[in-house]
Amino acid sequence: MIRLIELIGRFVEILWSTLMSFARELGKILLLLCATMKQLILPPFELKNTFKQIIEVGIKSLPVVVITAVFTGMVLALQSYTGFKRFNAEVLVGTVVALSITRELGPVLTGLIVAGRAGAAMAAELGTMRVTEQIDALETLATNPVKYLIVPRFIAGVIMLPSLTIVADFVGIIGGYFVGVTVLGANSSVYWKRTWDYLEITDIYNGLIKACFFGASIAIISCYKGFYTEGGAEGVGKATTGAVVLSSMTILISDYFLSAWLFK
């Protein structure tokens, strides 16, 4: 009994200190966000770097996003078909796929993929630059590293996440359609009609707002982790994993609250 209380005590202690360090970290991330916003509006603009990051975040994540979205659409159609058949609602498969993808899975899966790919790359790159003093070198060359390194990544995140989400929405719905019509034998025009009948423009639109928010979170969190890396190569490794874990958690947690707020 005493051991149990002790154990719970330890657990609460760890939970508390984790929460506190999370709060401190959140504060620092918000400070970095403010600095980024300030540098974002002040000229000169880093067009070349921004373009490079847009390619990096957007184009290079595209294949993974497409494949993930197609299969998600496919499995959604399959699962909802077998489930809905139990109460004779097979006709709604198209609707379910369209709503789930645009409102939820499109933005969230795209976010998680970009967090794992581009977020990790951002943290690793900035972390390496920090530990090899390249960020200090930028400073000696009278270049603000927030402007030069972070602003382009932030812009790329905010622009490219919604763009990728549009693609994911589209191919996800196509994937569902493909399974619905060819594998499950739904009538093509009925399926198609059901897909669009109950889909409202706000479904897509709100999904994209979520994506924007995810893009901003991934970029600022990953840049934060990289920018403040300490402790050599090991530190870069920690920063990279830390960036992926924190961005993914932020996406999943904020998704709930954003959904509650957006889809009233």
Binding site: T132, A137, T140, A142
Partner: protein, 252 residues
């Protein structure tokens, strides 16, 4: 021109600087010597303002750099050039883009002109035909020289060199010494160099300062340092393991 007054800096429990004071006149070449880990790099990073003093101040032209606004700080930086101990080249850019970075960014030069200047600066540090390579393709000594070319490319007034000759062969090291002397003569730059290499120190210094236990224990011309009665300085310049400076874990 550069005035470091009573500088204190600790990292956690590690008190690195404990009241270092050093004055460098305009056009002077100051060399800072001191044991490994004595805080030489930390000292130089305060001069350019990467690190903030716990106590004390760093003044450039009688202005405390801690009081500058962000814009003023970046404007001041344009007057500096710095060579990092590990070169700190941008590994995502070609060699010439590294060297031309400040020229393109602040000098508003076109790529072609900037590249020409970069090639010329690379030649000055003894590198020919490397401009289109990536930094990862260079040896350590070559990186250091590219770092030097980058530091001098925008013709700064103040140069900070963190171990300009370590890792170079003796002949190349001497060529770099000559280059540093020439920079001083031709452009009358003010410089602070860190080195372990006493040969280089005697050659490039107008004055030498020794950092020991977080303070500057002696400052003097190369001759004064050579004939010092300070036991600590004497032990360091003669490179003896026996004397007042004790190395932990090593029994002499």
């Amino acid at each position: 021109m550069i005035e470091i007054v009573n500088l204190h800096k600790s990292f956690g429990k590690n008190q690195v600087l404990r009241g270092a004071t050093l004055k460098v006149e305009k056009g002077e070449s100051m060399v800072v010597i001191g044991g490994s880990g004595s805080g030489k790099s930390v000292l130089i990073k305060h001069i350019i303002g990467f690190l903030k003093p716990d106590e004390g101040s760093v003044m450039i032209d009688s202005v405390d750099i801690a009081n500058l606004s962000e814009n003023e700080r970046y404007e001041t930086r344009k007057r500096f050039g710095m060579l990092f101990q590990m070169a700190a080249l941008f590994d995502s850019m070609k060699v010439w883009e590294n060297v031309a970075f400040a020229l393109i960014r602040h000098g508003k030069l076109k790529d072609k002109e900037a590249k020409e200047i970069a090639v010329e600066k690379l030649r000055a540090v003894g590198l020919v035909g490397v401009e289109d390579l990536m930094p990862s393709e260079l040896s350590g000594g070559m990186k250091k020289r590219v770092g030097l070319a980058r530091a001098i490319a925008h013709s700064p007034e103040i140069l900070l060199y963190d171990e300009p000759t370590t890792g170079l062969d003796p002949i190349m090291a001497d060529a770099i010494n000559d280059l540093i002397i020439e920079m001083k003569k031709r452009l009358s730059v003010t410089s602070v160099a860190i080195t372990h290499d006493m040969h280089s120190a005697y050659k490039i210094a107008d004055r030498i300062a020794m950092l020991y236990e977080g303070r500057i224990v002696q400052t003097g011309t190369p001759d004064e340092i050579r004939n010092t009665d300070n036991a600590i300085v004497r032990q360091f310049i003669t490179g003896s393991a026996v004397g007042p400076i004790k190395i932990e874990g090593v029994t002499a």
